[in-house]
Amino acid sequence: MSYKDRRRFLWVLFLIGLALIAVVAQATTLVRLRFQDLVHYSYSIARVRCVHAESVMENGEIWTDTSFRVVSHNKGYLPEEIVVRQPGGKFQHLHSHVDGTPEFRPGEEVYLFLSAHAVGQFKIVGWAQGTFRIHRDLRSGGETVTQDSAETPVFDPASSSFTKTGVKNLSVDAFEQRVHHEMSRETE
């Protein structure tokens, strides 16, 4: 592609972006939750390690129950192991799909913002918005945290503007400080 073509393409992308940023706001299934909203709505906030997932049929619907071992918790009380229930999964020859639900792999560590569902069973507040993946840098050993919805541009009615307020590549320490800060604001 010639330099002229590249410039033309970049301009097209830029103009499309300008046009669309005026309309894009929230996930189809999700409405924007600010970080303080996530903290507020959460019964518990915890760092957890995925153990395994299994699908169950209950009340005629298929759910995926993912078991997590609790590594530490920042808010609320949690037992050593919890189950997070999400819609969708596979049961016998039926596959139930619900787009927008986060997936977890055994061994993966994440911070989850949880609301209580039943004894020992939880839901993730705002689905992708309440899911924060932990990434460990193999060279430095440092850990960072990125929200599944980090790149979602959100519309702030107060300022009539769009911003990306998601958490991206934040150090674990800074992330936990932010959680504690919002929790302390809540109790004031």
Partner: protein
């Protein structure tokens, strides 16, 4: 590159990423059975006889049947009042229901209004009303519910669609007919959050007066896309882009009698043509296939074994003449019967208009759309003995992590 049936050419080189390797972007002449778009994929249960499983572990896109009146929807006229979440211009009981029903019919017509597909208006059975509350459920009947609580709702969740697909022929769900195809959608229910005091949905007629409400038509059209088999699209402006318009606004252009599919993006139309191929169509029959490969093979993941190309790249076709993004798909795999999927970097963009010239671009899913928004199109490509006890080893695979760190560069065509 001109797209003609099964005609491809070498075009672009992409420079690879984190490891500073070069990613070579090859467009190959091939007849590989390539991956779908961002469709919800399902791997047939090859533990069952070939007569019901098809005998292949290649993923199949979820889809509806397209015979006359094959897709039937009903909607629950039970509407919440505390909070009142569905806002209409007509405040009378009958007028309000008529206005909502018009939105549903309009949204269905958006999808059946696309040319060059087998999904035509007659594919949809007449829309039915039902006054029962809690109408949605796995009963083999597609339903739309505006006032049904569901365990899946949490703060911040506006609406979702639960799509149930069978992985073999002959599966029956509730009162629905037994499946006749693998990947056939047996039930698709659309739920709108009935109890979030922060979220309300307005019909197009009522949206102007309720600027803090979400456009019911845009959200419903998007959710209906899921009910047809779509996952999310990473193309901005597509109806299946996973982010809804801001309160008080709507996606694309409102449909008209002249252009019922106006709200859709070209990417939605192309995807629909791929999913519901019209054998009589002679215009949208072009396809571009290729592979996305790292120049430095050491940059490929060591686990799971057998990954030979970039997985999870967003591959986009841009019409050279107009500059419009015509389609985008998720690249990275191919499959030839009896499977399983091979993670060799393959992509295919099908149902392209012939006699047009396209440029192909590849980008990682690290922008506005991430792997989690299209997970149903990625994580369901494989089954194995861990996910399904007794799964035959020769037809087993493990889905690798999408590569979201590669970077690309382009150079002129040779």
């Amino acid at each position: 590159m001109s797209a003609s049936p099964k005609e491809n050419a070498v075009q672009t080189l992409l420079r690879q990423s984190a490891s500073l390797a070069m990613t070579m972007f090859l467009l190959l002449w091939s007849v590989i059975t390539a991956q779908g778009y961002a469709f919800n994929e399902i791997v047939p249960d090859v533990r069952e006889p070939a007569s019901v499983s098809g005998g292949s572990a290649c993923p199949v896109p979820s889809h509806q049947l397209t015979t006359a009146a094959a897709i039937a929807f009903r909607w629950s006229t039970a509407l919440g009042t505390n909070p009142k979440t569905i806002l209409t211009q007509d405040q009378t009981a009958a007028g309000s229901l008529n206005e909502i029903e018009q939105v549903i019919q309009q949204s269905l017509a958006v999808w059946s209004g696309v040319s060059g597909t087998s999904l035509i208006p007659a594919t949809f059975a007449p829309l039915a009303r039902n006054s029962a509350a809690n109408l949605c459920g796995s009963d083999g009947i597609n339903s739309i519910c505006f006032d049904q609580p569901d365990m899946a709702f949490t703060p911040g969740v506006l609406a979702f669609t639960r799509v149930i697909t069978a992985d073999q022929i002959g599966i029956q769900l509730g009162s629905g007919a037994p499946s006749t195809q693998i990947g056939q959608i047996l039930d698709a229910d659309i739920y709108f959050n009935p109890s979030d005091s922060l979220a309300s949905f307005a019909t197009p007629a009522a949206l102007g007066a309720n600027p803090k409400s979400y456009d019911l038509e845009s959200l419903l059209t998007h959710e209906l896309g899921h009910s047809l088999g779509f996952s999310h699209s990473a193309v901005w402006g597509a109806m299946m882009f996973p982010f809804a318009p801001a309160p008080g606004t709507f996606t694309g252009i409102r449909p008209t009698a002249q252009q019922p599919d106006a709200p859709l993006g070209d990417d939605d139309r192309t995807g629909l043509r791929v999913l519901f191929h019209d054998p009589a169509d002679t215009l949208f029959i072009g396809s571009i296939q290729g592979r996305i490969l790292p120049a430095n093979l050491l940059s490929l993941p060591a686990s799971p074994p057998g990954v030979t190309g970039i997985f999870g790249a967003h591959v986009v076709a841009v019409d050279t003449a107009s500059g419009a993004v015509i389609a985008g798909t998720l690249g990275g795999w191919s499959c030839q019967a009896p499977g399983p999927a091979q993670f060799d970097g393959t992509y295919e963009i099908g149902a392209l208009a012939v006699n047009h010239t396209y440029k192909i671009y590849a980008e990682p899913l690290n922008g506005a759309v991430g792997p989690s928004e299209v997970s149903n199109a990625l994580v369901s490509l494989c089954r194995n003995s861990t996910t399904d006890p007794g799964w035959p080893p020769l037809e087993a695979c493990v889905v690798p992590q999408p590569d979201i760190e590669f970077t690309t560069a382009t150079r002129s065509s040779p």
